[in-house]
């Protein structure tokens, strides 16, 4: 990129540099290679452990709470939980995030308010997920909103825990990446595109819907996949807000609503509970689940990178 232009000579040999500069260069190489080594170590170790522990049957059997590891079942329920929670969170995060980005870029007045919203998004991005989880817990265990939460039979107090609640809080951690990506995409659209649409007599709302939204679709897709990656990888919210039961337990028999009000687990909480830190202590299962988790997260991130790269050759605005 810009860097290559500065290379005055292709073979600007470092041997003529002062010692301090050569030390700096050596540190640079060492740091870069160390980083690559750490990444390679994680990939190789997790890959080796994962492939040696993962059996296809684990993916389709329900977990059981058995001390004997060979009888403890697979992780079908956590896998379902992850998918359900990710879908829920992203369904909420995308419309709100895109609307926020649209307002920030296309309207954004009064300006101080826009700046406040902008830093508000940063605050949400920076807020630890444990804190978000605790916030969700206190909001949703209040009496007005308790209809969303799981109740143990007989207990009259709402726990503030269910798939719906965890999904809502999860949408908060995906929101910043959606807003950022949509905003970036909107700012890249040259102004004459908007002007052309307005000159044809379209209203601003119609311009947004018919011209801007279609052209930022790749941006939204990038933000969405990144946000999904964050949701899939988050543990704290699941541990605090999903009840952390091994099996997915719908609250009632009503097909969808009962499930949303029910409790369950996800791959992350499954790994946490099966590590020595949790009560399960089944490292082999934890490795296998962690491998699946990593494949999911990294796949999502690679997809996001792929979509973002495609955008460069994307909509060719005439400049």
């Amino acid at each position: 990129m810009s860097a290559t232009a500065v290379r005055t000579r292709a073979r600007d040999s470092a041997s003529s540099w002062p010692l301090l500069d050569r030390v700096g260069l050596a540190c640079c190489w060492a740091a870069g290679l160390a980083l690559a080594a750490v990444a390679a170590a994680i990939v190789l170790y997790m890959g080796w452990k994962g492939i040696s522990q993962l059996k296809p049957s684990l993916l389709v059997t329900h977990p059981t709470g058995d001390v004997d590891q060979s009888k403890a079942g697979g992780f079908l329920d956590p896998l379902e939980g992850t998918l359900l929670l990710t879908g829920l969170g992203i369904l909420l995060a995308v419309p709100i995030g895109v609307a926020t980005a649209l307002w920030l870029v296309e309207y954004g007045r009064p300006a101080p308010l826009a700046r406040a919203v902008e830093s508000g998004v940063e605050i949400i991005a920076g807020a630890p997920s444990v804190v978000l989880a605790l916030f969700g817990l206190t909001v949703f265990s209040s009496s007005g909103l308790s209809f969303m939460s799981f109740r143990a039979s007989g207990a009259d107090e709402a726990f503030g825990r269910s798939f719906a609640i965890a999904g809502i809080v999860m949408s908060l951690i995906a929101l910043p990446s959606v807003v950022a990506a949509a905003r970036e995409a909107l700012m890249q659209i040259p102004n004459h595109v908007r002007e052309a649409s307005l000159a044809l007599g379209k209203t601003k709302a119609a311009t947004i819907r018919r011209v801007l939204l279609p052209s930022i679709r790749p941006g939204i897709a990038t933000g969405t996949t990144l946000g999904m990656g964050r949701i899939v990888g988050d543990t704290a919210i699941v541990v605090l807000l999903l009840g952390n039961t091994l099996l997915t337990e719908p609250q009632t028999d009503v097909p969808v609503l009962g499930l949303l009000r029910g409790t369950g687990s996800t791959l992350t909480s499954y790994v946490y509970n099966n590590s020595p830190a949790g009560e399960g202590n089944a490292p082999d299962k934890a490795y296998a689940a962690a491998f699946v988790l990593m494949v999911l997260v990294i796949g999502l991130n690679a997809l996001a990178a792929r979509i973002a790269r495609g955008r460069d050759g994307g909509p060719a605005w005439i400049r």
Partner: protein, 337 residues
């Protein structure tokens, strides 16, 4: 539709007039965006309302050392069921100190490391390796924290326990604090690996957006590549580097699961007088304390104490976010995005 829009423009805005569609659209979008601000306000209100009893009972001494925080927390957990006799006494200094220590050390290690990595990526790596670096950074950023924790607790903690902890030290401090593999060293180490990618991403972005003419100017004066980048590139990128430090600090502060797994999970303030052994002593940072205590949330005073930890985290992460946002502004103003 078009006439309505035109009419709306010509007519002065009258109260009670029906809004046109574009106006409604703006209003809706604006309301959603401003709703986010309401959400943050609500977050502060709700968390602090829950946290208040813990702060009110202890006053400022909540933040100070005194007594054993482990037994204090246990007392809070086992306080009598009668609300009049709830126990709230807590001196949270060891927890705060552990948080500061792990976060501070991790950022301290990560800053030079990430800066060098970013320089390597942007300028000094041969094209083949440079192409590999971006996916590497993205990969390290994407690994879920629970996986880092798993590797830490199953692989690194036993190794540290076997090779770095001397048996005599372990025996000496046994009555006071249990020494396993997990502790300050491991927590800091993994935390560093976790925050380095964020810092590299921000630093590399900033270094790439340093105006090319500035670097070329320096190179044209015969300054070698290293000095050019160190004196011009890195200096121009300073605001972004500061922003990266701030954001990474926020991330390290909020990390809960990984720290709950590898930090030893024993509330203790590592004693600098122990020399290097201090690094092996366990800590329990704020966020990890919340996760470890999650089972006890339904015990009212204990839950409220956990909310007090969350309140401290929330306020500090808010300040950090705003500081990071502000730190990026100077570069934007000069057109260096």
């Amino acid at each position: 539709m078009r006439n309505a829009a035109l009419a709306a423009k010509l007519r002065p805005r009258a109260a009670g007039r029906r809004l046109t569609r574009p106006e409604r659209a703006e209003l809706w979008l604006g309301a959603l965006a401003v709703g986010l601000l309401a959400l943050i306000a609500g977050m502060l209100v709700f968390v602090f309302r829950q946290a208040w009893p813990s702060f009110a009972h202890n006053g400022l001494s909540w933040f100070l050392p005194g007594g054993n925080a482990n037994t204090q927390l246990a007392d809070v957990y086992h306080s009598p069921a009668d609300p009049a006799h709830y126990v709230y006494t807590l001196r949270a200094w060891p927890i705060l100190y552990g948080t500061l220590l792990s976060t501070g050390l991790a950022v301290l290690f990560a800053l030079p490391f990430s800066l060098l990595c970013a320089l390597f990526m942007v300028e000094f790596a041969p094209p083949g390796i440079a192409r590999l670096m971006t996916p590497t950074v993205r990969f390290l950023a994407a690994v879920p924290s629970v996986v880092y924790g798993l590797i830490g607790i199953l692989v690194l903690a036993p190794w540290i326990n076997d090779h770095l902890v001397s048996a005599s030290f372990k025996l000496d401090v046994k009555p006071i604090v249990p020494i396993g593999g997990g502790g300050l060293l491991l927590a800091t180490l993994i935390l560093t690996v976790m925050i380095v990618p964020i810092m590299i991403a921000i630093n590399a972005d900033a270094l790439r957006s340093v105006p090319r003419s500035w670097l070329e100017g320096s190179a044209a004066l015969g300054v070698n590549r290293w000095r050019t980048w160190w004196k011009i590139g890195v200096r121009t990128a300073r605001p972004a580097i500061a922003a990266g430090v701030v954001l990474a600090t926020a991330r390290a502060l909020g990390e809960a699961i990984m720290l709950a797994m590898v930090s030893g999970s024993f509330i203790f303030a590592p004693n600098p007088l122990d020399g290097l052994n201090m690094l092996l002593e366990p800590i329990q940072p704020l966020a990890a304390t919340i996760v470890v205590g999650a089972e006890g949330l339904s015990v009212k005073p204990y839950g409220q104490t956990l909310y007090a930890f969350a309140a401290v985290l929330l306020v500090s992460s808010m300040f950090l976010s705003i500081a990071g946002w502000a730190a990026r502004q100077p570069m934007r103003r000069h057109g260096v995005r």
